[in-house]
């Protein structure tokens, strides 16, 4: 038993050294834009148009979907140019079989029905979010997608 203890001690010392101090380097560059509480950079004035409302509402979508031309797919496919396309058309995105075989063409009306409740419109879809209950918000989001794609 004593031999065991002696044998153990150096092992523990090594282990102790292994969890030793990491250096805590200071930032190599520190850009202080402002102090907390100081006036913020003025926000861009919001417009009251449908597209501006849609752009703001699209923030709910942006965690999973990009909308810039040629942008990457994220958790969801890129939505640039989706209106008028067949379902499952974004290059390189792994759609559910339910969606690719749905036969849907994304007219504004179809898109509206889908984002109102994706799982009801296409049972088996992997789109977990969505279900935007407010018809006005859906209209604005679709108008925004259309506008971005048109430009």
């Amino acid at each position: 038993m004593r031999a065991m203890l002696r044998a153990s001690a150096p092992i523990l010392v090594i282990a102790l050294a292994a969890c030793g101090t990491d250096p805590a380097p200071e930032p190599t560059e520190q850009i202080v834009v402002r102090e907390p509480g100081a006036a913020a950079v003025p926000a861009v004035e919001t417009e009251d148009s449908l597209i501006a409302i849609g752009k703001a509402a699209f923030n709910t979508c942006i965690a999973c979907h990009g909308i810039e031309k040629g942008g990457a797919n994220k958790v969801g496919p890129n939505l640039y140019g989706i209106i008028g396309q067949a379902a499952g058309a974004a290059q390189g995105f792994g759609y559910s079989e339910a969606l690719t075989s749905s036969g849907i063409t994304w007219t504004k009306e179809e898109l509206d029905r889908y984002i109102a409740n994706p799982a009801a419109k296409v049972p088996g879809t992997t789109m977990m979010a969505g279900a935007i209950t407010d018809a006005g918000r859906r209209e604005a989001i679709i108008a925004y997608i259309d506008e971005v794609s048109a430009n």
Partner: protein, 741 residues
């Protein structure tokens, strides 16, 4: 079978992986020394009006509420409840009046039994020497700042050795105080439902009424523990105490830290681990709403803003250039090629021998049937539900840190070392962990957030994006393992030879001492990569369970035997092991035919002190495997909370099946390719099989763990079932890479 020869090279990670638990022997240690540390500990844990600390782990307040002080963290495994059950049972406490408090991050709550359990688990010490031994381990363990939850050790280490002893000691102290006051022999008193009763005189009193007098009693040297027939709480499926708050949303996790004036940080580290951030272009980020500071920390970039979303958005616009490293240019295929080359070079003799018995060369050469196979597994990320996060405030020579970690004391020490502030002026505040799985035993977030807070001087909550979490994890290593097995003319296993890449922890993970194979030799080679390794639920058992149980199945097939019958032969003479195997087979109706295209597979892995056999049923009639049912038979010695134990088996099936079906982290140009749940998917609810669990209480004196042992048999049970259904032997995970069409 002779004891396996093992090479041991302990590292801090090995230590964590081996799963030392905290809290063990402090009470025992105290119990054999004069004095009681309650004076020192009371300011930490018993500040309330009328509260009395009886010993380090128990306090009783004026309303007769008993509080169990548990030195472990709650990460969904239900440990608070089970440990409190153990203490309360020995104390004869009224469960409805038991509360639970997580021990503070203080060295006094670290433990020697961690060291005992880890370094010398089978060391039998004469009672008279116990204090010396425990004392030695206590000082070592304290020095190592161990207050760790991991390695499936909390119940079998801390619970069995400390919480029960603490409860029994407190009970004896209360009884002694009452006996003295009432002037009756101790033997005439009994305890029940937080009351002390003297039947002869019909006197009774609450624990609370004797709490103060009990704390003055000397600690009993060897408190008497109950035998199983007297258990009132242990062995009962008591509802977890954290269910209500986790159901109604009031539970506080690390990410819920909220302080006046707190700001948020988003971070992005160099994609190739080891690279430094050479330069950043933050022109756009500087003009964005809410942005307060932009920091190039050398190894990562941070943006601090009024809100987290603002910080994330600004961070996304920053262009960074990184230094070149040796890891650049490495791809996953090249890494597997590197493994193969080094395994080839090791040949039949080189590499580190982990265990050897008999002569495998001779036995294999003369075997009637020879079986050879190679298996591969990928890197795996932890993907905890709660993203990695930490909140820190460094000011005026003080530091406060809020997070959820598996190692609170090490977090406190790390914050002290990072800031250079004396540890007495560093406070660490732990909260619930939204999943741990080993990931939260790493200190990276603690270091990063304290460094950010040092730069800002105001409190900052750093939250990793899911992308950072996936790309900057400490991964379960990718690995390759090769086997040669020999069978005699009767199909009996006579040789077992294995060489594999990596050995991390536990050291016994690649070995099969429970199988009767006369000649065996197991070797490993180290293949360095730049990615960081970390303990991942069941650690090395996660890959070796799959390797070993796949190869056993291949040997069974080569011997013309059923996988269950073949394992029965290998376990002959080990009744406890056989009982577990037999139970799983019986539960599954092993001999009953299944429909066409369906298959059944069995696997057996003892790990972390618990023996587990699983039978998986798969339906292979679709495009990809559908696991329909998993039968789990497990012997943890004694299940303290059977419901909690079964839940751990079920969650091990979910976590293990996620890995078996989908889990793959791969490297391209030195960086991790996966980034979020679209390319690192988690099992969906419709993919969850039915899980049937049967618990065998095989030895109440020697308990096993719960958090991890359910996982290792899962993948091989599934792949063996796929073989049974299709004849397709899966030698590389995940299953999503295999075309079953």
């Amino acid at each position: 079978m002779a004891e396996a020869k093992k090479k041991k090279s302990w590292t801090r990670r090995a230590f964590i992986g081996a799963g030392v638990a905290a809290g063990g022997a402090l009470v025992v240690g105290i119990a054999v020394r004069p004095g009681n540390p309650t004076d020192r500990l009371s300011p930490l844990v018993a500040k309330g009006e009328g509260e009395k600390l009886i010993n380090a782990w128990v306090k009783i307040d004026a309303d007769n509420i008993v509080t169990a002080i548990v030195p472990h963290v709650e990460m969904g495994q239900g440990i608070f409840t089970s440990l409190a059950q153990m203490l309360a049972d020995e104390l004869d406490a009224d469960w409805s009046k038991v509360r639970i408090l997580e021990a503070p991050a203080d060295a006094k709550y670290s433990s020697s039994h961690i060291g005992r359990e880890f370094l010398a688990p089978n060391l039998e010490v004469p009672e008279i020497l116990e204090p010396t031994v425990s004392g030695s381990f206590l000082s070592l363990a304290t020095a190592m700042t161990l207050q760790i939850t991991g390695g499936s050790y909390s119940i079998r280490g801390t619970g069995q050795r400390a919480m029960r002893t603490a409860g029994a000691a407190a009970r004896e102290m209360l009884v002694a105080a009452a006996a003295s006051e009432w002037n009756v022999p101790v033997g005439e008193l009994r305890t029940e439902n937080s009351m002390i009763l003297h039947d002869k005189s019909s006197k009774s009193a609450t624990f609370a009424s004797f709490a103060a007098a009990a704390a003055e009693q000397s600690l009993p040297a060897k408190p008497k523990l109950k035998s199983p027939k007297d258990y009132k709480l242990m062995g009962k499926a008591i509802a977890r105490t954290d269910i209500p708050e986790k159901s109604n949303g009031s539970a506080i996790f690390g990410i819920d830290a909220d302080l006046p004036g707190m700001k948020y940080a988003a971070v992005k580290a160099a994609p190739v681990v080891g690279a430094t951030v050479e330069a950043i272009d933050a022109a756009a980020a500087k003009t964005m709403p809410g942005v307060l500071q932009i920091l190039n920390m050398g190894d990562f970039v941070a943006v601090v803003a009024d809100g987290y979303w603002q910080a994330e958005q600004a961070l996304a616009t920053i262009q960074a250039t990184y230094s070149k490293t040796e890891g650049d240019g490495l791809d996953q295929d090249a890494l597997f090629t590197r493994y193969a080359t080094m395994l080839d070079e090791a040949g039949d003799t080189d590499g580190d021998v982990e265990t050897e018995e008999g002569d495998v060369g001779e036995a294999f050469a003369s075997a009637a049937t020879k079986v050879e196979a190679e298996y591969k597994v990928p890197f795996l990320a932890h993907a905890t539900m709660e993203p990695m996060n930490c909140t820190a405030w460094v000011r005026d020579g003080k530091c406060d840190v809020w997070s959820g970690t598996q190692s609170p004391l090490m977090a406190r020490k790390t914050a002290a070392e990072t800031t250079g502030i004396d540890i007495d002026n560093v406070a660490y505040h732990n909260a619930y962990l939204g999943g741990g799985f080993g990931r939260r035993s790493e200190m990276d977030v603690i270091i990063m957030s304290t460094r950010i807070a040092m730069a800002t001087k105001y409190p900052v909550k750093m939250i990793w994006s899911r992308e950072e979490d996936t790309m900057q994890d400490h991964y379960r290593p990718s690995a390759t393992s090769r086997f040669q097995g020999g069978l005699d003319k009767d199909g009996k296993a006579v040789s077992w030879s294995n060489i594999h890449t990596h050995l991390f922890d536990p050291q016994e993970a690649p070995t099969v001492p429970y199988y009767n194979i006369a000649n065996h030799k197991i070797r490993k080679i180290d293949v360095p990569t730049h990615l960081r390794f970390g303990p991942w639920r069941s650690v090395d058992h996660s890959q070796h369970g799959y390797f070993i149980e796949s190869f056993v199945d291949e040997m069974a097939h080569a011997a013309g035997k059923d996988g269950y019958a073949f394992r029965r032969e290998l376990l002959a003479g080990s009744p406890r092991h056989l009982k577990v195997l037999d139970t799983a087979a019986k539960m599954s109706g092993w001999d009953k035919p299944l429909p066409e295209g369906h298959g059944r597979g069995i696997a057996f892995v003892p790990s972390f002190g618990t023996i587990v056999a699983e039978v998986a049923e798969v339906d292979m009639t679709g495009k990809k495997p559908k696991v329909t049912t998993v039968y789990v038979a497990a012997d943890p010695g004694f299940a303290v909370n059977p419901d909690g134990f079964a839940a751990q088996m079920e969650s091990s099936v979910a976590y293990g099946l996620t890995a078996a079906l989908y889990g793959e982290i791969s490297v391209k140009d030195g960086a991790v390719q996966q980034s979020n749940f679209h390319d690192y998917p988690i099992l969906r609810i419709n993919e969850m099989p039915d899980v049937v669990v049967e618990i065998i209480n095989g030895d109440h004196k020697r308990l096993g763990g719960a958090g991890e042992p359910g996982l290792p048999p899962l993948a091989p049970a599934v792949t063996n079932a796929i073989f049974a259904a299709t004849g397709n032997r899966v030698r590389e995970l995940p299953l999503s890479k295999v075309n079953f069409a």
